[in-house]
Amino acid sequence: MSELVIFVVAGAGALAGALTLILAKHPVYSALGMLGTLFSLAVLYVSQLAHFVAAVQVVVYAGAIMTLFLFVIMLIGVDQVEDTSETIRGQRVGAIGVVAAFAILSGYLWLSGIFSWEVVGTGTEPVNGSIEATGQLLFAEWVLPFEVTSLLLIVASVGAVGLALFKPRKAEDE
């Protein structure tokens, strides 16, 4: 019962945040809405016993990435309202058409029943999502993907430096 209450509250929070993100005119409100979604998801993770993922969610997403978003919004200027005019002719009609086609297709697939979901004995075995268990997996079984992820970070930082430190004059002279 308590799990249901937590799910409903956190789920409603996540949905409300997501709607705010899309509908708010002011970018700062959008960012705050996203923050709400991220926190609500973290609560859901905790209720699934995935403590590590929840901690990462709060520290990395709500902490670091949201701060970055807010910085960018502040730098660009908070008083700018987004220009919602169409840049491609017929964009809105096309988008509605695609959404309608997608809805018809998914409705058909749903009714045809090939996506029917029959739970066969899953969820009986509790998964240990604690920080210790995650750490042991990460540094033992998953050590190679873990190291490859560090390569990804090198690529990202090299790319950022290479693209940002651009001096057009100098490069052309050489």
């Binding site: 996506f115 066969v120 090198i154 990202a156 790319g159 651009f166 490069a171």
Partner: protein, 482 residues
């Protein structure tokens, strides 16, 4: 108590060598004022060390057979070694013919060089990975490096457009691929190739058929995007046209090597027992790519767009071999090896004519090159004939092998489509040859340095040599993979 998995350094030796090379390049580029004089030596040493790593791997496999390490993440076998060797050859030729791209970037040359090495690490990991997460990480390391390489050139409008398109569409493709992995995991409960194979070949209850098919489809779509197979090719022409000429050949080659390596393993292990279900869609994509690539290439007015659309049709030919299942691995690898080298060589010539940071190369510019620079004109002619599949070039042997396998694999209609397209393709491959030798023009006269000369010469020797006498390589490949 943490149980450590089996750590096998020899399984990742080439990747290690390239990573160390990339890091050393970065350190030297930052700390030394005379970095430009050291970079060629570091690049050469890195390539040599990677080659030595591959030899060590080959000896290991010869002595102990194939081995799996890192808790079932990576396999060390001859197929992976062959693909990594192709990758290394592509790097070597690309750096030789495109070295001016690295020097032309000035202080950012170090970044470009290290990104070339790191992208190769990513795509090499794709070739030996037998785990979907590691495959995805390899794909991302490789792809993101290529996005940056596409954007590192001079700030021209068309180059920026190309880089942006490549980045956005590539990211979407990666997301699709990852979605496929997630659905596959939801459907099979396994992330390893072997686990998925056991799931499909066992009589496990499939509790959500649609979910699983959607996952497999998304997985393939993500990779088909990377090899620019139609209808997932729309990024290719603009990127091939707009990205810096000195590196775009390598970009196309590296992405194709990594994704084809992964697709080949897909049909060999995880999806082997359901090959009948995925054969038809794969063959359809192959046919569509071959036809569309050829037809669009005919109407292009820019050599780089011609090469892009021909790349679409080559992706189709490679898929033809993959659609037969795991039986055409030797032919697919031979085709892949010869095609990527010719691609890198051809773009090397484009960059010599147009400048290493240039965007676009109208056929106009090639008029009269036969008189201004006979060596380059003849080289490009050979490359074009090689891509078209002219007898006495490696391209013919590659196409012939794939057609034979597809024919005996009950894909006769696909072979007929491929044959017709190959004949039609001669038209656009020969058009630039006609422009170079039979039409007058007073465009630029390219300056050919010795590194580019060696690179193009090597590619020429391989293309013609393997066309006239392919038996040794085919024997080695058959022995290694058989």
């Amino acid at each position: 108590m943490v149980e450590t998995p089996e750590i096998s350094l020899v399984a990742i030796l080439p990747e290690l060598a390239l990573t160390v090379g990339a890091v050393v390049v970065l350190m030297v580029a930052v700390s030394s004022r005379r970095a430009a004089t050291y970079l060629p030596w570091i690049a050469g040493l890195t390539v040599a060390a990677t080659g030595a790593g591959l030899i060590a791997q080959y000896n290991d496999v010869a002595a102990n057979g194939f081995s799996v390490s890192y808790a079932g993440m990576i396999v060390l076998d001859n197929q992976g070694i062959v693909i990594r060797t192709v990758m290394l050859a592509a790097i070597a030729v690309a750096l030789l013919v495109g070295w001016r791209y690295v020097t032309g970037l000035g202080t950012r040359g170090g970044e470009a060089l290290s990104l070339v090495f790191l992208s190769a690490v990513g795509f090499m990991l794709m070739a030996s990975s037998i785990h979907f997460m590691l495959l995805f990480l390899g794909l991302e390391v490789g792809s993101i490096s290529l996005y940056v390489l596409a954007a590192l050139g001079q700030r021209a409008k068309r180059a920026d457009e190309a880089a942006m398109k490549y980045f956005l569409l590539g990211s979407v493709a990666s997301a699709i691929f990852l979605y496929g992995v997630a659905l596959l995991y939801a459907g099979t409960g396994s992330l390893t190739y072997l686990g998925v194979f056991e799931f499909f070949s066992g009589d496990t209850l499939v509790f959500s058929d649609g979910l699983l098919s959607a996952g497999v489809a998304l997985l393939f779509v993500g990779l088909l995007f990377k090899i620019a197979a139609a209808p997932f090719h729309s990024w290719a022409p603009d990127v091939y046209q707009g990205a810096p000429a000195g590196i775009v050949g390598y970009m196309g080659a590296a992405a194709k090597i990594g994704a084809i390596a992964a697709l080949l393993r897909f049909v060999q292990v995880p999806f082997q027992s359901v090959i009948e279900s995925i054969q038809v869609p794969l063959a359809a994509v192959a046919a569509f790519s071959v036809v569309l690539g050829t037809l669009y290439a005919i109407v292009q007015q820019d050599l780089r767009r011609v090469l892009a659309y021909s790349g679409v049709s080559h992706a189709g030919f490679l898929l033809m071999g993959i659609a037969t299942g795991g039986v055409a691995e030797v032919q697919v690898l031979f085709y892949l090896a010869t095609y990527v080298l010719v691609l890198v060589g051809a773009f090397g010539i484009v960059s010599l004519l147009e400048g290493s940071g240039s965007a676009g190369s109208p056929i106009e510019n090639w008029k009269g090159l036969g008189r201004r620079s006979p060596f380059l004109a003849w080289s490009l002619t050979v490359f074009m004939l090689g891509m078209a599949g002219m007898p006495a070039t490696a391209g013919f042997i590659g196409k012939f092998g794939i057609f034979t396998r597809a024919w005996s694999g009950d894909l006769e209609w696909l072979v007929i489509v491929g044959l017709l397209a190959s004949v039609a393709a001669f038209f656009f491959y020969l058009r630039v040859v006609v422009a170079m030798f039979f039409e007058d023009g007073d465009g630029k006269t390219p300056k050919l340095g010795w590194p580019a000369g060696i690179g193009i010469g090597l590619t020429l020797v391989i293309t013609v040599g393997l066309g006239l006498y392919p038996t040794p390589l085919l024997d080695v490949l058959t022995a290694a993979l058989g």
